[in-house]
Amino acid sequence: MNGSKNSNGAKTGTVKVKRGLAQMLKGGVIMDVVTPEQAAIAQEAGAVAVMALERIPADIRAMGGVARMSDLSLVQRIMDTVTIPVMAKVRIGHFVEAQCLEALGVDFIDESEVLTPADDKYHVDKAKFSVPFVCGARDLGEALRRVAEGAAMIRSKGEAGSGNIVEAVRHMRAIRDAIAELSVAPEEELSARARDLGAPLELVKEIARNKRLPVVLFCAGGVSTPADAALMMLLGAEGIFVGSGIFKAAAILENGVAQYDENGFPKVDPSIALRYAKAIVDATLHFEDAAAIVAASKSLAGARPMHGIDVRQLPESQMLSVRGN
């Protein structure tokens, strides 16, 4: 549990060590993987962490039904395969799924709108856990509510599994613009601003003072090309989550239809996946250098980004980003 003291005088699960792990991931790419083989490809490509899950968001979207925490033996096998940190997702508000992942020893929990919410009112009380949490946000108020609950890292929600960057851009700009506004707001306005944001006054004051979130901010939801990754870094993201973008691009299709192996996992071409993953890592690192993004994009020869969805055509019932507030 939070802030416990061990026999050797070491304090584990403190705010500093939880936020600190996110700080170590900055400038990096975190990749969704559904098998130990994909996790090894992600690590070889230079990912700073992997998100272990049963299905990438694009497949969750396609399959429908209830999406839950992944099979824990799969998460365990992925933890046994790579040396980089392993993250896994829980349903919004499902604190028992979170307790399971903490007991299993995952390094980070994503309380994620990509899974079907378990609680339509309350998120997990994350401050109680020793393991750090990352949560999605569409704007500053949502980000600060999650930080107040104990999130150690924030990511844009974007629209997961859409292959469309527009929602992530909207969310990143909304967060950035609101921070800029607070940083020049007269002090006597902060209380009303906190009310309008639906966020605790103490956190709003902290933002006004420091001109930045108190935790690391990554981009997630819709990144599918090296240029997308660089765009989000230039809009202020401190790192990138890639969900469906890599392994959808490397999916083996027959007559345009995805193929699955005997265990139900989508078949991917490992060499295309590796190239694709490396290109996203390179573009994230050299986001300010257009020539490097050109080189990364050219290295994809033969691989096509996922087809993607025009999110304006999605009915609200199929939007993932509206889950949780």
Binding site: T12, Q23, M24, K26, G27, G28, T83, D107, V281
Partner: protein, 194 residues
Amino acid sequence: MGGRAIGVLAVQGDVEEHVRALERSGARAITVKSSSDLEEVAGLVVPGGESTTVMLLLERFGLVEPIVERVRAGMPFWGTCMGMIVAAHDVAGFEQKTLDLLDITVRRNAFGRQIASAEVALAIPALGAKLFPAIFIRAPWIERAGPGVEVLASHDGHGVFVRQGNAIGTSFHPELTADRRVHEYFIEMVATAV
């Protein structure tokens, strides 16, 4: 400190935190992304991050040789956590390429996974009697230190702060605390380097 800046390797990790800590300690700090950046600096800090990732990227972007050459020629070097792993002679239990700047064998994630990450009041006699607020995050420890290596601090029976000539390594993250003594120690190394 006037004169040349101290570089913080900006491939991946908590770069900004080191830049800020160096500046607050009175040094000029710049980020290093290329070998031409490296020519501008009088000392190099490799921050916390993911060692697997950073070694791959150092190779992919041709930074391995320039760094090794400069440090072998006397440029002060400080690796924190990932930076110390990258600087080690070898990594216990792994075939991991390293820069081999410190004659040590490190064990990665030695204290355990993230839930074992901790804040520790650490005795570092070289920095005075006051305990240092050391933050360990998925931290390595030093399994073997060669004869030329001085162990400046230990935790749980293993070295966590070492020096060998112009290179130091810490398992923990002084850049995440307000205590500036390790940064000041490194700035002094840079100021007195030939």
